[in-house]
């Protein structure tokens, strides 16, 4: 039972991170019906920039005195950086192809993903970049067997904050309304003076910002980042987005949690070597049996 509860805690942490990445996929897909293959790279770039900024702050000596302030500052800056990165990528590689066939945009996205991950390898080398470990030390212990460390609590709080913030943004503000309108019908929304180009760029920026936050947290959680770390979590997060119903924000959150749980429990109770396979199998099974996902509704036949 203790093992189960401990795994549940781990699953919640991992699932929250997958949910953050999955949101970017689902939002972009909702607006322009494109699988943004480069999204995993935004996540990896977030991990890199985060560790670099933390390194700068440690070098300036702020880490000892204000560790949590440093973390928040680098989190914000990293999210901003990845938002910029995503907007640049969108402008260069996706926007000119919006009128082209979907295959062209998809191949362009794939090329961008390879380009970015190898660009990071060239810039930072192929080796693991270690994260400072001080945040994960300390925490709560229950009965000597179940532990929740500080970092897990930080991840939960951060994930919850970002998800609530995103929900408020999308469902309560004018910008969110414009985003939903663009997702529904680009021509009609442009007739009511919504600039679809701006909304698309904004969608990319928000999605990448969330992925960047996940990147830093994954770096802290696992202790290091690597240039190719975006690939597998990217597919898993996509699986989460599909599971929840692509284009649906609440669905992506639920899907992320489910994928995280499946992976953690699968690794604990079935096989650790095949832990990556479980998410993929869920992806295939969902697409086969219920392509609209759990919460999905607005998918017509041509999109599937």
């Amino acid at each position: 039972m203790e093992v189960f509860i401990q795994q549940l805690i781990n699953a919640l942490t991992l699932g929250g991170l997958y949910a953050l990445i999955a949101l970017g996929y689902t939002m972009v897909y909702g607006v322009i019906q494109l699988i943004n293959f480069a999204h995993g790279e935004f996540f990896a770039a977030g991990g890199y920039i985060g560790v670099l900024l933390l390194g700068v702050m440690a070098n300036m000596g702020y880490m000892e005195t204000h560790p949590w302030l440093c973390l928040s500052a680098s989190l914000l800056l990293t999210m901003l950086y990845c938002a910029f990165l995503a907007m640049g990528v969108e402008r260069v590689a996706y926007k000119p192809l919006r009128k082209q066939t979907r295959l062209a945009a998809l191949i362009s996205a794939l090329g961008m993903s390879i380009f970015l991950s190898n660009g990071m390898m060239l810039a930072r080398g192929p080796l693991d970049q270690p994260y400072p470990l001080q945040y994960s030390s300390g925490g709560f212990e229950f009965g000597g067997l179940i532990t929740i460390n500080n970092l897990q609590i930080v991840i939960w709080v951060l994930t919850a904050t970002l998800l609530i913030g995103l929900n408020l943004l999308v469902f309560k503000t004018r910008i969110g309304m414009a985003m939903r309108a663009t997702a529904q019908d680009k021509v009609m929304s442009s007739l009511v003076a919504i600039s679809s180009n701006r909304i698309i760029a904004l969608t990319f920026a928000i999605g990448a910002g969330l992925a960047a936050a996940a990147g830093i947290m994954v770096g802290l959680y696992y202790g290091s980042v690597r240039y190719d770390m975006g690939f597998v979590p990217g597919i898993k997060a996509f699986a989460a987005a599909v599971l929840g119903g692509i284009g649906n924000i609440t669905g992506a959150m639920i899907g992320g949690l489910i994928i995280g749980a499946v992976e953690v429990f699968g690794a604990a109770y079935i096989s650790g070597e095949y832990k990556d396979v479980f998410a993929f199998i869920i992806l295939i099974a969902v697409l086969y049996f219920k392509p609209t996902g759990i919460m999905g509704e607005n998918i017509d036949d041509t999109r599937v």
């Binding site: 920039i49 640049g88 590689a93 295959l103 090329g111």
Partner: protein, 408 residues
């Protein structure tokens, strides 16, 4: 020219500044937390110089300043192309066949043979992937899994049962086709992007299985000691008999690879112009309309998967026979992306294009061996650039329409 330049300098400058903002944190912050400015600015200035040259050339071309150069050059190109077209097709085919046949005699060094074998393997793979992507219009990102299935199939049959290459070749093709059907069946209801990501997931699953099923595949250590292909040679010592010898010389293996590649080429060519190929193209252009016209889309899409897998399986069997070693390392996603890059670069659904694409990419890889770390970086960028400026590839296919569902 000035007019044209005025139009593009503003987005150019914004783009370059944007790039600096992205570049500096990635390259300018050292791992120990210190900052450096020289290196990122060096890279940035290089990019700026390149961008300025491109922008000036672009605006000069648009403004008609380069007319004295581009005019005669274009005329020369047109004249050469018409001359080349006037030669009958059989001359070209004969020329290429001649070069291919006598290649080992012309270039006798080992690296040259290695390179040629690699080119031929990738031509087979590219043409096989072309059946799925170019003809049937389904983006398959897990294609290398079939290559892996073929390679492991021959390796295991050879190691455990001592079965020779030529017997195992159809078996490898068959197993790959079965794998293609297994992967194809659940994905057939999907279109476009979903298909891409599901095939990607399948490819990763196959790789993980190869990596983790220790009893069967020996995991990440791979399988060693696979026998090369052999042939029967008549021997007249002590009466007539057939002697089985292994092809250990590299140039002999080259001919096996050539045989395989030519076989693939002929098959894909014939498929392209058969009823099946027409049906695939109809599915690519408009699946709903094809179905209404009586094309059995389900069966044909499954067949496209299986056919693509067959060629990959045979190429895989040859790969393991040639390397005498297989490990899951050779079947990563990047390899799939590489084959896809060849197809995209050469031109989807265009057989000469894919041959050219595979040759160019493999030869480039060899030439720029010292820049190996830049390889995938450049290829990724090339894929984007190709899609932006020449989505039909270097040698576009003659017939290629647009899918009606995407016209809205």
């Amino acid at each position: 020219m000035i007019q044209e330049f005025k139009k593009i300098w503003k987005p150019g400058v914004i783009g370059l500044l944007w790039f600096l903002v992205l570049l500096w944190p990635m390259t300018g912050i050292n791992s120990d937390g210190t900052l450096s400015f020289a290196k990122p600015f060096e890279i940035w200035l290089g990019v700026v110089a390149a961008a300025v040259v491109v922008m000036v050339l672009y605006s000069a071309n648009k403004g008609g300043v380069l007319e004295p150069i581009t005019g005669p050059a274009g005329a020369l190109r047109d004249r050469t192309l018409t001359r080349a077209r006037q030669l009958p097709l059989w001359v070209w085919i004969g020329l290429i066949c001649g070069v291919a046949l006598f290649y080992p005699a012309i270039f006798s060094s080992r690296p040259a043979h290695d390179l040629a074998i690699n080119v031929l393997i990738y031509i087979s793979l590219g043409l096989g992937l072309n059946v799925v992507i170019g003809l049937a219009g389904m983006l398959d990102l897990g294609y290398i899994a079939f290559y892996g299935v073929g390679a492991y199939c021959y390796a295991l049959l050879n190691i455990h049962f001592g079965i020779g290459f030529w017997t195992a070749l159809p078996a490898s093709a068959l197993f790959a086709a079965i794998a293609g059907c297994i992967i194809g069946y659940p994905t057939l209801r999907m279109r476009g992007d979903y298909l891409a990501i599901v095939t990607l997931a399948f490819g990763e699953i196959v790789r993980l299985i190869l990596n983790n099923w220790m009893q069967l595949t020996n995991g990440p250590n791979g399988i060693l000691g696979i026998k090369p292909p052999g042939i029967f040679v008549p021997s007249f010592e002590g009466g007539f008999s057939l002697e089985y010898i292994y092809l250990k010389k590299l140039y002999l293996l080259y001919y096996v690879a050539l045989l395989l590649a030519v076989f693939t080429m002929i098959c894909v060519y014939r498929l392209n112009y058969s009823r099946i190929g027409r049906a695939w193209e109809a599915i690519r252009e408009d699946e709903t309309a094809a179905e209404l016209m009586g094309v059995n889309t389900f069966l044909l899409k499954l067949l496209a998967y299986a056919m693509g897998a067959v060629f990959a399986g045979m190429a895989g069997a040859f790969f393991s026979a040639r390397m005498k070693f297989v490990s899951p390392e050779s079947f990563t996603f990047l390899e799939s992306a590489m084959v896809l890059c060849m197809v995209v670069l050469g031109g989807m659904a265009s057989i000469p294009g894919i041959i050219l694409g595979a040759t160019v990419l493999v030869v480039m890889q060899e030439w720029f061996r010292e820049f190996e770390t830049y390889r995938m970086f450049v290829f990724g960028g090339a894929m984007v650039v190709m899609m932006l400026f020449r989505p039909a590839g270097l040698i576009p296919a003659k017939r290629m329409g647009r899918r009606s569902e995407e016209e809205d």
